[in-house]
Amino acid sequence: MVALDELKGKAIQEYDKLLRELRKGKRPKYDFLMNLICYIGLPARLDNSDFVE
């Protein structure tokens, strides 16, 4: 859980950067943040999956 919290903290920082770029009128790349958020959500999705035992 501590590692997951660290990743969430990192995602929050990345999002803040993204939002600042967006405010300048730029359209920043966001692949890293998208992948990070997907990765953070992975354990919960695996726990709820019927296909993984």
């Binding site: 969430k8 995602a11 929050i12 999002y15 939002l19 405010r23 966001y30 958020i37 953070i40 959500g41």
Partner: protein
């Protein structure tokens, strides 16, 4: 007894009220002893408290010098320091994002319908960008709420609403 200044409906174990705008809300549950407690309490109990507040379920009363009860306002209960009184408070934090969620679903639907009809991905690049931004925003808000950083989550929400204007029509929702 739950006291809310907004219009609300209450059940034995739940309170329902309308929220029209996304954001951070706090709900204060005010707990007061009832008249049965007041009638059965001994003077020893009363001496324990500086001020005794009670309710009959409809109105709120406070005990004044001489021991008699006078009606008081809900505003007084909400605003006063509860130390040394019979008032108990329980605060619940709520972060409401239904407007943003509806907005996300709207973008997904537009992209889905659009791609089914034309198969021109480039035509929907703006919608795809908006959908991804909203999805990321919802997740980041979720993390901040998990860390109990409600004010930071509110700041993120307001900043997102300001720049881009992706969800202008969804910032206020009617449940």
């Amino acid at each position: 007894m739950d006291v809310l200044l907004d219009k609300h409906e209450e059940d034995i174990d739940s309170v329902t009220f309308n929220v029209e705008e996304d954001g951070y809300y706090t709900v204060d549950h005010i707990i007061l002893p009832n008249m049965k407690w007041y009638e059965n309490a001994t003077t020893e109990y009363f001496e324990y408290y500086d001020v005794v507040y009670v309710t009959d379920g409809e109105k709120v009363y406070k005990q004044v010098k001489g021991g008699s009860l006078v009606e008081c306002t809900v505003k007084e209960i909400l605003e006063r320091n509860i130390e040394g009184t019979t008032i108990q408070k329980c605060r619940v934090d709520i972060f409401y994002t239904a407007g943003l969620q509806n907005c996300y679903i709207w973008y997904c639907k537009q992209i889905f319908d659009g791609l089914l009809n034309t198969c021109e991905r480039n035509k929907y690049n703006d919608y795809i960008f908006a959908r991804d931004m909203i999805w990321m925003t919802l997740n980041i808000i979720d993390y901040l709420v998990g860390f109990k950083q409600y004010l930071e989550a509110q700041r993120i929400l307001e900043m997102f609403q300001k720049c881009g204007g992706y969800c202008k029509d969804f910032s206020k929702t009617k449940p």
